[in-house]
Amino acid sequence: MAQVSSIADEQSSQSITLRIARYNPEKDNERRFMEFNVPYEKWTTVLEAILDVKKHFDHSVAVRYSCRQATCGSCGMIINGKPRLACFTKISELDSNVVTVEPMNNFPIIRDLAVKFERLFDTHHKIKPYLDRDDTELTSDAKEFMQSPEELEQYIQFANCIKCGLCNSACPTMATDSSFVGPQALAQAYRYVADSRDKGKDSRLKIIDDSHGIWRCHFAGSCSQVCPKGVDPAMGIQLLRGYMLGFRS
């Protein structure tokens, strides 16, 4: 069932049809789409269009967002078939008169566009996302852990991850394997393995050396193509596999 509503602004010269997926697991048997005619300017983002709909027509549309500047990683969704951040995607970039927004694939739906992140955070936590070493730099007589710019370059790209889940949503293995660790966690495993201050490489590699771990990645590269922060999880995973195969030390 589709509903068409119009909030076209007299001052705006352009408008699109925004199709929003609606689904409440507690009430609905299947997903349906509601359609809204929304005005936009060349700088209008998909998130702003959704918030326009909430403000003017249907405040019950469920969407998670916070920073509106691609920093918090909250507003990931499928926009015209591809995982994207709604706050980082301009309507004018999509080159379409119809913009369809759906919840991210491979994440359980809470309602409408909001999905559960528990599993993403669980797998992230599983790979020990912290410096693993016995000593500390926090005691008064200890020296800080020194690191050269070259050593920093080895992992800083992967430290940009905002845990938005877009990579897990695009991954073809995640599409069929509920137990797969996922590109987000594997890229973060590389981030800590490559950090010269970390001493937990062996234990971290042991965690991902599993039939549903790193060996399930087939280098399709879709994770890297959708990452809004340039993390390139596919590169991290292959470099990490290089450690496991003995090509890197």
Partner: protein, 143 residues
């Protein structure tokens, strides 16, 4: 897949249209792998006909000398070449070879792992498979 899990499923996994040539290569790799597996099973069945003696063997072998048999073998040649060449590319990538070096990313964040080396590898696999298939067709139909 249940709606609770909201997995994209096989349909999403095999959809090659959204993520560039790398996802097309991923899809072709699976398709050619399954095709070669099916051919391998068929090949074992075919060669087992030798147990029926020379006449039985020749009778079965004639099935491959038809137009359909030639086309099937040409497709097998293409699958074999693509799977081999792309497999070498993927294996090198899995070892961290040719996937780029970590560096601070600049907008618009073109992923270094999807670099021209791998794209050349994918296009080479497709072109070599097409050439091998055409050569096979020329040999089989040129008799």
């Amino acid at each position: 897949m249940t709606q609770d899990e909201h997995k994209e499923g096989i349909k999403g996994m095999v959809n090659p249209s959204r993520y560039g040539i790398e996802r097309v290569a991923y899809w072709l790799m699976r398709l050619s792998g399954l095709g070669l597996l099916a051919y391998f099973i068929g090949h074992i069945y075919e060669t087992s006909n030798i147990l029926r003696g020379r006449v039985g063997w020749n009778e079965f072998l004639e099935l491959t000398q038809t137009t359909e048999g030639h086309i099937l073998l040409a497709i097998v040649i293409a699958m074999c070449v693509f799977h081999t060449v792309n497999g070498i590319r993927v294996m090198l990538g899995h070892g961290g070879v040719g996937v780029g070096k970590p560096a601070r990313p600049d907008y618009p964040y073109d992923p270094a792992s999807q670099n021209y080396r791998h794209k050349i590898g994918i296009y080479s696999a497709i072109i070599l498979a097409a050439i091998a298939m055409m050569y096979g067709l020329a040999v089989m139909f040129g008799e």
